[in-house]
Symmetry: C7
Subunit: 94 residues, 7 copies
């Protein structure tokens, strides 16, 4: 299987655990080299995060399990990249 | 034939298989070096993906067959690049 | 004559041949190093492509002939670059 | 724990201490390599700052304590990055 | 005299000669290293081109003469750069 | 104290001294390596400048004193950066 | 005095002398390494230029004198930079 090198996830998270605790827990998972969480919406009981994860061979199911253990949920998968080198989407203008 | 080095495809995909399973299956095809799928619309039964694929000699028919095997369909081809080196479209501002 | 190094063409193409067949046929022409076709509009019978071609000494007439052989037509020439090195248009913000 | 490498915080600060005193106090914390505060809103009694902090192993609780000691408060955490290398959010277009 | 290194000209051109013939004729002038013509408007009898020319010592009068010989006219001079190195206009965001 | 490496100040300045005299006087202060003043508004009696100052260890009070000596005033501090290396604000898109 | 390294000037110029003659005359001044003039408005009797000048030690008064000798006038000074290295304004997004 082509290894996944980047995932961008839309995550709903209660206010507890904090964004920091949440992001570092994701960063601790095997195969995760780096994770960046951007808060895109704050509601009364929940925060919406756009979570960008990079690694050499990411495992979405392990990530989903950890997200669930952290009382959060993956609302949607916004981007998946796999392969030998990173390829940006030419329409996003990176 | 000038080898195809990049394809950007608009893909309609049922919710199953997942974006990850879909993208890695594309990434496993012969000649595909990297693939990035960005989710651009989510409807009740279907997701619309913009799928950017790079390689040294991409075969659209093999990709289309795999897409079909994955219960999805190529709605349109948005960009095709071929040749010795990548050439960006100056109007897209990459 | 100063050799042409980049052409950006607005092309009208019937749905057959496909964008891939069309682009690789252009990429096969003598002097063409790389070609990128971006689909900018899809109508019932025709697709509009913005076709960016780079090379060391492009021949528009040979390209036009090939475009015609492919049942398509050059609707307009959007950009022509010639000379020893590439010069970007400062108003396009590349 | 995956070390935190970047924090972007939304901070409410009374006019005293000044933005300079505030930012350098944050810059003095252990593990902080650099801090940039951008003033995004000025109200009668309070300034809103977007505070970007980078380091090798940032400690949000130590930062929060210092912010509180400076009579200010963290209104929200806007971005958290952790891991071996920086990963930018592809939707922010950095 | 400080040598001119870049000219951006607004040119009105009848449909004949073609943009390619026009641009390569400009590219053939002494001192012109590269020329890029972008078509910005197409009217019934005339095309408006933004013509970017770079060289070590451009001669606008020789360029104007050639433009006139090609049945076209310089409608306006949009940018002139001279000197030892290129300096971009900070307001254009290049 | 973490040394300040960049300050962006909003400055109100009467028409005399000139922007050049004002900016070079700021550039002459100890610790200032470079200063750029952009005029953002011109009113009857006053100009508003955005003043970007970089150095290894900037002293805002010395800068404020000099600004006052030049008959101008710091209307607000828009950005303060300190630390071992420059950190840009990811929301400004630099 | 901290040497001025960049000036951006708003210049009103009659149609004669031409933008080319005007820009090269500025480029010929002592201390000017490069000058770029962008035409931002054309009225019946006058053109408005944004003139970007770089050098190691620019002298605005010598520039103003030359501008006056060329029958033009400096309408406003839009940016002044001085110091050991160039510093861009982070709000302009260069």
């Amino acid at each position: 299987m082509a290894p996944i090198t980047r995932l961008v996830l839309d995550v709903l998270k209660p206010h507890d655990p904090s964004v920091v605790a949440f992001t570092t827990a994701i960063g601790d998972l095997e195969g995760v080299e780096a994770a960046t969480a951007t808060v895109v919406e704050v509601d009364e009981n929940v925060k919406t995060l756009r979570l960008t994860i990079e690694g050499n061979d990411l495992d979405l199911e392990a990530i989903r399990e950890e997200v669930t253990d952290l009382s959060a949920s993956i609302h949607s998968v916004d981007q998946v990249a796999c392969g030998e080198r990173p390829v940006d989407d030419p329409w996003l203008g990176n």
